[in-house]
């Protein structure tokens, strides 16, 4: 980590990608046309659970313009990031309403859709299992009868054969039963988060082409090009280098595009069409009901505290509604367990986190990776405990937040480099003037303040890595190649800043190749988990330093000095003791040529990498281990105004503090927080998928599922950054991409306790539910 003077790191440098986006020239997969491209549509199951008895595709195949028709029986490939429980198209049975059962590729999208209409499927519906609390019972009908035959990531996950349990993560620390018995107050509460959709503005889109020699070329709106390559390789049985994945600009991901979704189907359709490029673009309705969402969560927390407000015991059961397939869900269940007691010092902890199959659209990664859902319960339970003890919720939290020397529930020791949740909480409390009651509201309105804390570490395998290549150009500029994806979060800009500072050149001379291409961009694990700036930053630093090593090597010979005597500044290499002997990079970048023509050195290409340091798997019985590369702590303070006659909530003021370590770009960081907070408000007040008793999605469109608009934003927002340096982070930075969303619902619900004296246990906090709670004077 460099600690020299920073010309660019820490500055509000503008994005390079703003220009193509603001002129409408940025190309997304939605916008791409390839020569010979054809279009695909899918036929989806109308039932939440059914056997497929017969599929008749004859008429569809004969429709003019149809190039390929596929059903599940045609595709003997298994998919699954962690548990291989999924097929490309349903085979033999369907497990959720909206699940694709057949696909058609045709000359036009209209033809493909018309052909889908002509496919006859005979279903035998069975009773779906919809509530994970029922699905987890021993006698529940099985969503995956063959669970025991699936391969899975051993040592990390453990699906339970002959059950609906895809994974069970445990934390066992100390003796919770004794500690509860010794507690002065025991709080036992249930909480619920519904499944919720990501709603990226660009729906999923992919163009795949099967090429000669069993090769595949894929353009996809995805967050993780190498994961797409890896999973295609694994499921189709092709060598990785036979598969090339491109990711151009993408219109948001939020975790929904983290893995692999439409790509395998597009690849298979291309093969079946004789190698035509096949484009699949999800409709908005498919985005809601066919593509995966955020898992729902049922939470039971039992919290034991002393009368002076110290946490003695924390017991929780998290029952995750994974939907029909495990996808990222099992990892969310794992992460939820090890983060599942919040950023508090908990001496005795007992957590069971179950990931349970149901017959609904499946869950995947979603910004926050389970932490918004978990902290909904945790921060509400903490609030309840504090209030029942008559202790100020701020004091209660301060009294229990993790501090240097404390151990987490997985046995990790908190160090000075961990970050300061207490400073975050203090900052937001000051920002909303906690301790001073809200100004009196006008008649029919009620105001209240609330606080909540948050934490998250990247939930990633212990071998997660990133690499970067920096090429110097003949004009002394630099190109960065990296395959993390900038989907608007701004990481590429921060990498340019880092590279410019490390290389000692003007930032205008540093470019990052926007499109990720697995043929050229070096490996990065996935753009998820708030780890890209951290690992990409470290990899970029290493690559830049490698470039400078090569610069110094060539310059040393050219300037007749030892490499150690060469310094770099302002795009030039010079002899430190005799600065008149100097050469600009453009005389070195492609090698150096002496006056007589002799040449030395050569093109300068630097490479760097970073692999997660010191992470361990979690003990399957106790959950002890080191899962976290770093923890980012934070807090929100919010003031709400409730219209007590209608139940509507206005966010008057929301302050958010994050200990993101060194803020690499304050402008981008603020933008990220504001956006995340509004997405959090969406989860808090409006969002959630609604299913009827048959497991049919009721609100799978913008008409029926609302997200915040420009008129729904808070009156005031504030973003505060505490900058405790992360020792192994680039310039001391740690990740902060997901965090702005986490605990927003908790903070708002805590404010509602002040405002209207109602304790909410279920999201979203719709006006109707607030109204009903006020008027029936009960908790919800």
């Amino acid at each position: 980590m460099s600690d020299g003077k920073h010309k660019y790191v820490g500055q509000p440098v503008a994005r390079e990608d703003a220009l193509p986006k603001v002129t409408g020239r940025a190309m997304y997969v939605h916008d791409m046309h390839l020569a010979g491209m054809i279009h695909a549509a899918t036929l989806k199951s109308p039932h939440a659970a059914a056997r497929i008895k017969r599929i008749d595709t004859e008429t569809a195949r004969n429709l003019p313009g149809v190039r390929a028709v596929l059903v599940g029986e045609d595709l003997p490939y298994r998919l699954g990031l962690y548990v291989q429980d999924k097929l490309i198209l349903a085979r033999g049975q369907v497990r959720y309403q909206g699940e694709p059962v057949a696909a058609v590729a045709a000359d036009t999208l209209e033809t493909a859709r018309a052909a889908c209409e002509l496919i006859r499927v005979e279903y035998e519906p069975v009773s779906p299992v919809l509530d994970p609390r029922n699905a987890i019972k021993p006698d529940a009908p099985l969503v995956h009868e063959d669970l025991h035959t699936y391969s899975y990531m051993k040592g990390v996950f453990a699906p339970k054969p002959h059950t609906n349990i895809a994974h069970h993560q445990k934390i066992r620390k100390g003796n919770v039963d004794d500690a509860l018995a010794e507690s002065d107050l025991v709080v036992n509460e249930h909480f619920y988060n519904p499944p919720a959709p990501h709603v990226p503005m660009e729906t999923h889109a992919v163009i795949a082409q099967a090429l000669p020699g069993d090769r595949m070329e894929v353009h996809t709106s995805a967050q993780s090009p190498y994961t797409v390559r890896d999973l295609l390789s694994h499921s189709l049985g092709l060598p990785q280098s036979n598969i090339r994945v491109h990711v151009p600009y993408i219109g948001g991901g939020f975790g929904g595009k983290a893995g692999i979704h439409l790509e395998p189907l597009a690849c298979c359709l291309s093969r079946a069409s004789g190698g035509r490029p096949v484009k699949i673009v999800a409709t908005r309705e498919e985005e809601f009901g066919t593509l995966p969402s955020r898992q729902g969560l049922h939470t039971e927390i039992t919290l034991g505290v002393t009368k002076d407000g110290k946490i003695k015991a924390f017991k929780a059961t998290y029952v995750w509604d994974a939907g029909a397939y495990a996808d990222y869900g099992v990892n969310i269940g794992r992460a939820a367990a090890y983060a599942g007691a919040g950023p508090y010092c908990v001496p005795n902890c007992f957590i069971d986190s179950f990931v349970v199959y149901t017959n609904k659209v499946f869950g995947t990664a979603y910004r926050g990776f389970g932490h918004l859902e978990v902290l909904w319960g945790v921060e509400r339970a903490i609030e309840l405990a504090a209030r029942r003890l008559g202790i100020d919720p701020y004091e209660f939290r301060m009294n229990n937040l993790l501090r240097e020397g404390d151990k987490t529930i997985t046995g990790e020791t908190i160090t000075a480099g961990h970050g300061r949740p207490d400073l975050c909480l203090q900052a937001v409390a000051e920002a909303i003037d906690w301790g001073t009651p809200s100004a009196p509201a006008e008649k029919g309105k009620a105001r209240g303040k609330g606080i909540a804390v948050l934490h998250k570490a990247p939930a990633m395998p212990s071998y997660t890595s990133c690499s970067a290549i920096i090429k110097l150009n003949g004009d002394g500029s630099a190109d960065i190649l990296i395959s993390g994806v900038d989907m608007g979060q701004g990481t590429y800009t921060t990498l340019r800043q880092i590279a410019a500072d490390e290389l000692r050149i003007e930032i205008d001379k540093v470019h990052i190749t926007w499109e990720c291409d697995t043929a050229f961009s070096p490996y990065d694990w996935q753009t998820v988990a708030s780890r890209f700036a951290f690992m990409g930053g470290n990899a970029t630093i290493a690559a830049a330093q490698d470039c400078l090593r090569q610069v110094r090597e060539t310059a040393a010979i050219a300037l007749r000095a030892a490499p150690e005597q060469i310094a770099c500044e302002n795009g030039e290499a010079y002899v430190e003791s005799d600065p008149n002997r100097r050469l600009p990079y453009d005389r070195l970048a492609l090698g150096y040529t002496f006056g007589n023509g002799n040449s030395i050195g050569g093109p300068i290409v630097g490479h760097g990498r970073y692999i997660a340091q010191g992470l361990t798997n979690l003990d399957p019985e106790t959950g002890q281990g080191l899962p976290a590369q770093f923890w980012t702590y934070g807090a929100h303070g919010v003031e709400v105004e409730v219209d007590t006659e209608t139940g509507e909530i206005e966010i008057v003021n929301i302050a958010t503090a994050l200990d993101a370590g060194k803020v690499l770009n304050p402008k981008l960081a603020r933008e990220q927080v504001i956006g995340g907070v509004v997405q959090g408000i969406g989860s808090a007040l409006f969002e959630g998928l609604i299913f009827n008793r048959d497991g049919h999605l009721q609100n799978g469109s913008f008409t029926d599922h609302k997200i915040p608009t420009a008129k729904d934003i808070p009156i005031h927002t504030r973003q505060i950054f505490v900058e405790t340096p992360q020792p192994n982070g680039p310039y001391g930075a740690r990740g902060m991409a997901e965090h702005p969303m986490i605990s927003v619902p908790s903070a708002i619900a805590n404010a509602l306790v002040e405002a209207i004296g109602v304790d909410f246990h279920t999201l979203p906090l719709t006006a109707e539910r607030v109204y009903t709670a006020i008027h029936t004077e009960r908790t919800d």
Binding site: K706, I707, P708, T709, K711, D712, T766, Y771, T772
Partner: protein, 285 residues
């Protein structure tokens, strides 16, 4: 392609009605299209032919000459809502018009289309009901004029024959002391369908009060308020009286936007807000 259909732009109402008649219910009038095209896209309807009436010049006219205001079938909702005379004379309608969909949608959606679509939640319907609007309808055989209340038959069912189209909606002039207002409850503050919507008109001199409620029955409902109100009576009394009538008249259901119980609970709340606006005199009470 949003659907498979043919398209024709007609130059006259007669041409349009002839085509509607010829296609025996398989043709649709196309003005703003913000309901029609969405319905086609979602396979709710599959017409053979769209008859674009936006080229019929008189249908694009909004006139507020005394005594009546006449709003042609093709006038977009934004134009109606932003018209100063409409905003003053038919306040409820202006407010209702500006509450439909988003700004972009309102540049296309029309008043005639909003009522012809006959959603129980149609925002303009309660306003038109309390403003005593009537609808000019043309068919192949001739024209007729119907009170707005006779347009709504049920959920997405209007009383137009297959060969008929609305050509304009007229709002009769009102007494100087007439005030009207509109109020709508949504889930988000941005564009949304109504949980409930409500309009009222009050002759502040005579106390004649009209209140209409939408999204609480299969059609928008005009309440039967037989006798005038006393504008100087305490608001609580007025609300109680009208609420009783409303609760008896409405038949709300549970749907995605709200439950029947919530809707019933909101009625007195919005009645109070509406009546407070209506009884308020210029320069205070």
């Amino acid at each position: 392609m949003i659907g498979v259909f043919d398209y024709v732009r007609v130059g006259s109402v007669k041409e349009g009605c002839d085509l509607l008649a010829e296609h025996e219910g398989r043709a649709r009038v196309f003005a703003g299209g913000t309901d029609l095209l969405v319905n086609i896209r979602n396979n709710g309807v599959s017409p053979d032919l769209l008859v674009d009436i936006k080229g019929i010049e008189p249908l694009g006219k909004l006139t507020v000459d005394a005594p009546d205001a006449t709003i042609g079938a093709c006038v977009p909702l934004n134009v109606i809502g932003e018209n100063a005379a409409i905003a003053e004379r038919c306040t409820a309608l202006a407010q209702a018009a500006l509450s439909v969909g988003s700004y972009q949608v309102r540049n296309r959606a029309t008043l005639a289309g909003n009522v012809a679509n006959a959603s129980p939640a149609a925002d303009t319907a309660p306003a038109l009901l309390v403003l005593d609007a009537h609808v000019a309808v043309q068919g192949k055989a001739g024209g007729r004029d119907i009170p707005i209340s006779e347009l709504f038959l049920g959920v997405k069912k209007n009383s137009l024959a297959a060969d008929e189209m609305i050509t304009s909606i007229m709002l009769p002039s009102h007494a100087k002391h007439m005030r009207s207002a509109f109020i709508k409850k949504q889930r988000v503050r941005g564009h949304d369908l109504a949980v409930i919507n409500m309009a009222g008109s009050l002759d502040q001199e005579s106390g004649a009060l009209r209140v209409a409620i939408g999204s609480c029955a299969v059609t928008p409902i005009l309440l039967s308020i037989d006798s005038p109100i006393d504008c100087s009576a305490p608001i609580d009394e007025l609300v109680a009286r009208i609420d009783k009538i409303a609760q008896d008249a409405i038949r709300p259901i549970d749907d995605l936007r709200g439950s029947a119980a919530y809707r019933r609970g909101l009625i007195p709340v919005f009645l109070r807000r509406l009546l407070t606006m209506l009884v308020e005199r210029e320069g205070g009470e």
